[in-house]
């Protein structure tokens, strides 16, 4: 059953560990390249701390799609961003590695499942794998490209918002472990972004902090969780597509109107625009949860009486919103 206290503990552990690693490594030798490497390692350590607190049972060799996401795909994404951040690695090689990973994410997550057995024909398998690769490559390319053009923290925060909403939607669909595993990503990515931006601003004399590594890992994680939630949980395809593409609304900061505004207003407007479709998805997921899953829960499994009261109030609020 969901344990909110455990989730907050995992988020805190992930955030603290990620921040500590980034701050320690980045201040040792302060260059943009080293900062990039520190971010990648900070994210990795933060995730490990979060998984440890959550007591996530991961099997090796990986047995489930979540195992393959967390034990194969995410470490590969971290490794690619680490190698791609080195000065000697050319941009084309880094992008080649990212695109190669994008091609292999879908078949890796579906490996050994009914989809590659009797469920789908060969043409269906090829279609789904190809579409997945294209979606991930395009989303990753657009977001990393925007991060390179503008820098800043808005894209990373937008991706973190999406991952958070994806976690909630997956959990409300009934796949609690899958949603919970996404929470350390939110903490690690967000904390790494904030700490790295602060270090860059304070000690690198305003050098543009390229958040490509954070965005690269974040996009792969977001796609992975949505893919797992869609094909192994009860996340619907429209919800998954909205959650995946909401961060792309950050491109609004490239419009002439936004370029002329103050940075704080640009960031606020961008995040508000991204938050709207995410909120709609969460509300719809909650309504579906109330319809299908809530009757299975009785007062002894929900938690404390305070939790029950909060959930009841949330129910009332959501019903009022949906009626309007």
């Amino acid at each position: 059953m969901p344990d909110p206290l455990l989730y907050w503990q995992a988020i805190a552990a992930s955030a603290v560990c990620a921040a500590a690693v980034v701050a320690t490594l980045a201040t040792m030798t302060l260059t943009t390249t080293r900062l990039n490497s520190a971010c990648v390692l900070g994210i990795g350590v933060g995730l490990l701390a979060g998984f440890y607190v959550l007591s996530l049972q991961l099997q090796w060799p990986p047995a489930s799609s979540l195992d393959r996401l967390l034990l194969i795909i995410v470490p590969l994404a971290l490794a690619i961003e680490l190698i791609g951040g080195f000065g000697r690695t050319s941009r084309s090689v880094a992008w080649l590695m990212r695109v190669t990973l994008a091609v292999f994410v879908s078949p890796t997550l579906l490996y050994g499942s009914v989809y590659f057995g009797d469920h789908w024909s060969i043409s269906q398998q090829i279609a789904v794998v190809s579409i997945g690769a294209v979606l991930l490559a395009i989303a990753g390319g657009l977001l990393c490209g925007l991060a390179q053009r503008r820098g800043g923290v808005v894209i990373s925060i937008a991706i973190c918002l999406s991952i958070q909403c994806a976690a909630v939607a997956i959990m409300m669909g009934g796949y609690i472990k899958g949603g919970a595993a996404a929470l350390p990503f939110v903490a690690a990515l967000l904390t790494t972004t904030i700490v790295a931006k602060w270090i860059s601003h304070r000690w690198l004399q305003g050098e543009n902090f390229a958040e490509i590594a954070i965005v690269g890992v974040g996009v792969v994680a977001l796609f992975g969780f949505l893919f797992v939630g869609r094909f192994f949980g009860e996340l619907s395809t429209p919800h998954a597509m909205i959650l995946m593409h909401a961060p792309l609304l950050c491109w609004i900061i490239e419009t002439p109107m936004m370029r002329s505004c103050r940075p704080s207003i640009t960031v606020a407007a961008c995040l508000l625009l991204v938050a709207i479709p995410l909120a709609i998805v969460v509300v719809l997921a909650k309504q579906e949860f109330d319809r299908e899953m809530a009757p299975l829960l009785d007062s002894s499994t929900v938690g404390s009486p305070a939790d029950t009261m909060v959930i009841s109030q949330l129910d009332v609020s959501l019903n009022v919103i949906s009626c309007r």
Binding site: S55, Q57, S64, L66, I176, K177, F232, G233, M293, L296
Partner: protein, 250 residues
């Protein structure tokens, strides 16, 4: 079945064979019989024809005996291979159900609606019997669609990753009232060796169809089969599986 009779027949044929010349001479007319053989051309001709026919007869007889012996051998070997009866799981007259604790105060019941299997029972040598069962995990049914959807998800049965629950016997031992069957039980991607006590084995012929039935119960711990420990809370770790299966002889 007639095979032992055919064998006796072959033995009788071989024993009744008599000397061919004596037989031919007895068949000839008296005059021809008194004339020395080399000097009687017509007799020689008739005799050579007879001897030719007799050789032909001997050849046919040998072929016949060989065929009968081969047939008898085939019947005997076929008899030993069909000592075991093969049965197919009858879904209509069988059930695989389970129950698990809810909040440690009550039981939640469920069943699997899509099950298939084969078993072979050798009455002469029960250790050669085999049992195999395949359950489609997707067919879980607890009389609540929302709960069934939840059970199919990765927190529980993960039916998209592990579509079947299987049992395959590796050894069988006869016991009073049934069989003790040891085999590999695979659920949620984990295989463990378990021993089931199958009670029953009573046969019944209905409308020329032979049926046999067994019952068994087995307790499993979900945590032993890779189920998420965090998902074990209100629903207990232990579950009891009840199998009542009837097989139809193929």
């Amino acid at each position: 079945m007639g095979c032992p009779n055919q064998l006796s027949l072959a033995v009788l044929f071989a024993a009744s064979r008599s000397d061919s010349r004596t037989a031919v001479r007895d068949l000839l007319p008296l005059d021809d019989a008194l004339t020395p053989l080399p000097y009687n051309h017509s007799l020689t001709l008739r005799l050579s024809n007879t001897i030719g026919q007799e050789t032909e007869m001997r050849r046919s007889f040998t072929t016949c005996v060989t065929a009968i012996l081969l047939g008898a051998l085939f019947c005997a070997s076929h008899q030993s291979a069909s000592a075991a009866d093969d049965y197919e799981y009858d879904l209509v007259h069988s059930s695989v159900s389970f129950k698990a604790r809810h909040l440690d105060i009550s039981w939640i019941h469920g069943r699997f609606n899509d099950v298939s299997g084969m078993f072979s029972i050798d009455r002469d040598d029960p250790s050669r019997s085999t049992f195999a069962l395949t359950i489609q995990a997707d067919s879980v049914d607890t009389a609540n669609e929302a709960r069934d959807k939840h059970l199919r998800q990765p927190d529980y049965f993960d039916t998209k990753q592990y579509p079947t629950i299987e049992f395959k016997s590796t050894s069988v031992k006869p016991i009073d009232g049934g069989f003790e069957v040891t085999g590999d039980f695979t659920m949620h991607g984990t295989t463990k060796e378990i021993t089931l006590t199958l009670m029953g084995g009573k046969e019944h012929v209905f409308k020329d169809v032979k049926r046999v039935a067994f019952s068994t119960e087995y307790a499993v711990k979900r945590s032993d089969y890779g189920f998420d420990k965090n998902a074990i809370g209100p629903i207990g770790d232990k579950a009891l599986i009840m199998i009542d299966c009837e097989g139809v002889r193929k």
